[in-house]
Amino acid sequence: MTTLIGTLVGFALTLFVLSYFFFRDWVLFRWVMALFIGASAGYAAAIALREVLWPMLLRPLLVLRQPLLLLPLLLVLLMLTKAFRGKVSRWGNVAVAYLVGAGAAVAVGGAVLGTLFPQSAATMDAFNFRLMRGRGMSWGEFVITGSLILLGVVTTLAYFHFGARPQPRRSPRRRGWIEALARIGEGFIAVTFGALFAGIFLAAAAALAETAQSLWLFILTLR
């Protein structure tokens, strides 16, 4: 019985979400969205209390008597002042500064060592025939792949070159050869965004197919 009620509720909520196709942002769709957001926020708050604050901060502090954790507790209390208006909220800046500073340091270091250097090296590796041959690439594939990567990198960078010369009676324009490269780069950027959009659509198509399958199975169980 419980399963049936749960399945019925799920069926109804799914139909309300799908109603956006026909009625757009109407009352039932908005109600379902509010329900989802509220449930997610409440669950996240419970998780934060149950899996973060109690086992990582309060329990070691109160039960295990670890005084060093007073500092994180102080930062937590300072962060709570951000919820108030007026001058009190300034005290929260200390906690925010600590979070932003530590987070930025970690993120920048990771970005440089984990993305910038390896990705630059990978772009240059495309012109390393020995390495590419080790990956099973033929000479023709190597030339085509390397040319495409070279052309794509150069023309995309040229697209983001905005230096232009004023022209009498006409809008300022870039130099002719930069303009030509930028046009090609525009094509590469369009292909990139097209691929991203295609990926988003494929994810939505998978969700639609799975939802249709769930609805169909529910209908079959009712018979």
């Binding site: 799908l18 196709f21 026909f22 997610s40 669950y43 996240a44 998780i47 934060a48 149950r50 899996e51 973060v52 109690w54 086992p55 990582m56 329990r59 070691p60 039960v63 530590a102 987070g103 970690v106 993120a107 990771g110 970005a111 060592l113 984990g114 993305t115 390896p118 990705q119 090296a121 990978a122 590796d125 390495l131 990956r135 009676r169 006409r170 809008s171 990139t192 691929a195 991203l196 295609a198 990926g199 988003i200 659509f201 494929l202 994810a203 198509a205 998978a206 969700a207 639609l208 197919a209 799975e210 939802t211 249709a212 399958q213 169909w216």
Partner: protein, 559 residues
């Protein structure tokens, strides 16, 4: 040269040298030596009221302005104007001009005229308190008029106590004042021609920069000072309908600033609405088609995916009973796609009896992980859920280095790192494999940047990602050495992984795969049709309206 300079003085006006003994400049006539006048010796012209001058005690007026004004007005004969600020001072005349001695009143007449206009209180104050002499006031001498003035002031010297004593020395020290010719030319009084008779009745300014000009200042009449006789002026503005209209607009603007405005929903044209419903109907039909018609369940398996094949190779090399870190970092909206992508991999790990250690940087991740592991054909029981990793990139970095510090115990306080699978784990590099399931390319990048460098060669990193994150994750697979050892992309990647392993997929997954294939096919058909339609429409519009070059100004437009 120096002696010559000491015997000459330079004119302050024209700058030319003159002998030291000269009183006036030989070249321009300007005075070279200053006039020295003993102020106590002689009274100045400003010290005494002149004919037509009104004396008004400002200190008394400041204390009680209304009573002072009333007292002043009470002395003015009815119907006559009260002249304020108009002082008739006799000016020195040029040589040969007739002396206007009439302007100087005898002592009795002057006192009578002054007392007639002054309030009683002011008059008493004037008699008892002599006005202070003005210092350094030049007083011309030499002409007959000046002599007359000197005599008049000498007669009135009783009011200036030190005048008699200082008079002889002062007369010797005083030199006749002679205005330079250029300064004489600037005096407006003599240069103004005689006014017509009608203008002569208007008062002429005798002092200050307006000296010599008539009718510049309106005389203050007694009626102006009397509040009862003052003309009544309304305080209300006379507004025309045009002004009223503008005021209404301004008030409406101010009111609108504080009135919440309802969002306007632009009406969608009927054709677009029909088109949207048509697209939705086609998509839903494609999704339900293989479910209602078994004839449409013939979708082909996806082709070879190198990244998925690489992932399968990594899993195949895993030892039995390996410890695998599984990160469930996708949102609930993508659970269908992500579960379909991850199930074949999890089934493979289950076959190798791998022990899963589950974490998530998403608060809902642990719950989604439980749902995923129990939805397998055989529920995955060999798993330990550590829980939620807070702190974003910093938290993930801490977990990769010191997982035992972050997760010392579970929520109930029981130790986590016990048992054969977990006892040897001290850092992320101690895991045999790390698998990250995410729909967000930013989260995938965070794992690559913060965790992968700490893993070393012995612990490969696999990614199970949504189709929307694949373009941004794929470059990490293309590096050498590979930062991501293998990638399984969405539903298609999961099916490719299963096809590579020749695994049997469930009937549920097979139906979802068929529906997915039909939806993608329908979308491709719709996009191709819409693109062709737009192409033809653009070609038709280009033929009807040829494109004009962009011109910036009117002259170029005309050209």
């Amino acid at each position: 040269m120096a002696n010559e300079q000491s015997e000459t003085i330079r004119c302050p006006m024209c700058g030319k040298p003159n002998p030291a003994e000269e009183e006036v400049c030989r070249h321009c006539g300007a005075r070279l030596k200053p006039l020295t006048v003993d102020a106590k010796a002689r009274p100045t012209a400003d010290s005494y009221p002149q004919a037509g001058e009104e004396i008004f005690d400002l200190s008394a007026a400041a204390e009680d302005p209304l009573s002072s004004l009333d007292a002043l007005l009470s002395d003015v004969p009815e119907g006559e104007d009260l002249l304020l600020g108009e002082i008739d001072v006799p000016l020195p005349e040029e040589e040969g001009a007739p002396a206007e001695t009439d302007a100087l009143l005898p002592e009795e007449e002057a006192a009578l005229a002054a007392n007639a206009l002054l309030p009683e209180a002011l008059g008493e104050a004037k008699q008892t308190e002599p006005l202070p002499p003005t210092e350094a006031a030049p007083w011309p001498e030499g002409t007959p008029e000046e002599e007359a003035l000197a005599e008049a002031f000498a007669d009135a010297g009783a009011e200036t106590p030190a005048a008699e004593e200082a008079a002889p020395e002062a007369e010797e020290a005083l030199a006749p004042a002679e205005l330079p010719s250029w300064l004489e030319a600037m005096r407006p009084v003599e240069s103004v021609p005689e006014p017509p008779e009608e203008e002569a009745e208007t008062p002429m300014e005798t002092q200050g920069p307006l000296a010599g000009l008539r009718g510049v200042l309106t005389p203050l009449t007694a009626a102006m000072l009397n509040p009862e006789e003052r003309p009544w002026v309304s305080g209300r503005l006379a507004l025309s309908p045009e002004h009223k209209k503008k005021i209404d607009i301004l008030e409406q603007l101010v009111r609108d600033e504080f009135t919440p405005q309802a969002l306007s929903h632009p009406r969608t044209p009927g054709t677009q609405r029909i088109l949207r419903w048509l697209v939705a109907a086609v998509m839903l039909l494609a999704a339900f088609l293989p479910l209602v018609a078994p004839a449409f369940r013939q979708a082909a398996l996806p082709g070879s995916f190198p990244a998925a094949r690489a992932a399968q190779t990594v899993v195949a090399r895993l030892p039995q009973q390996a410890t695998v870190l599984l990160a469930i970092d996708y949102s609930p909206a993508f659970s269908a796609e992500m579960a379909a992508a991850a199930r074949p991999l999890l089934a493979d790990l289950q076959a190798k009896k791998a022990h899963l250690v589950v974490v998530s940087t998403h608060p809902l991740g642990p719950a989604l992980a439980d749902n995923l592991l129990t939805s397998l054909p055989r529920p995955y029981t060999a798993a330990t859920t550590l829980g939620y990793v807070p702190g974003g990139a910093a938290g993930l970095y801490t977990f990769a280095r010191l997982p035992r510090l972050l997760f010392a115990t579970n929520a109930a306080g029981h130790p986590l790192w016990t048992g054969a699978a977990l006892a040897r784990i001290h850092t992320a590099a101690d895991f045999d494999l790390v698998v990250v399931c995410t729909d967000d390319p930013e989260v995938a990048r965070m794992w690559v940047e913060q965790v992968q460098p700490l893993l070393g060669q012995g612990t490969p990193l696999l990614m199970v990602v949504s189709a929307q994150a694949e373009p941004l994750v794929e470059p990490y697979y293309e590096t050498a050495p590979r930062q991501v050892a293998g990638v399984i992309t969405g539903l298609e990647g999961g099916m490719a992984y299963a096809a590579t392993r020749e695994m049997k997929v469930s009937a549920y997954t097979w139906l979802v795969w068929n529906g997915y294939s039909w939806v993608v096919l329908a979308a491709v058909a719709l996009m191709a049709a819409a693109g062709l339609y737009n192409l033809l429409l653009g070609w038709w519009e280009a033929r009807r309206h040829p494109r004009q070059p962009l011109l910036l100004d009117d002259t170029a437009d005309e050209a």
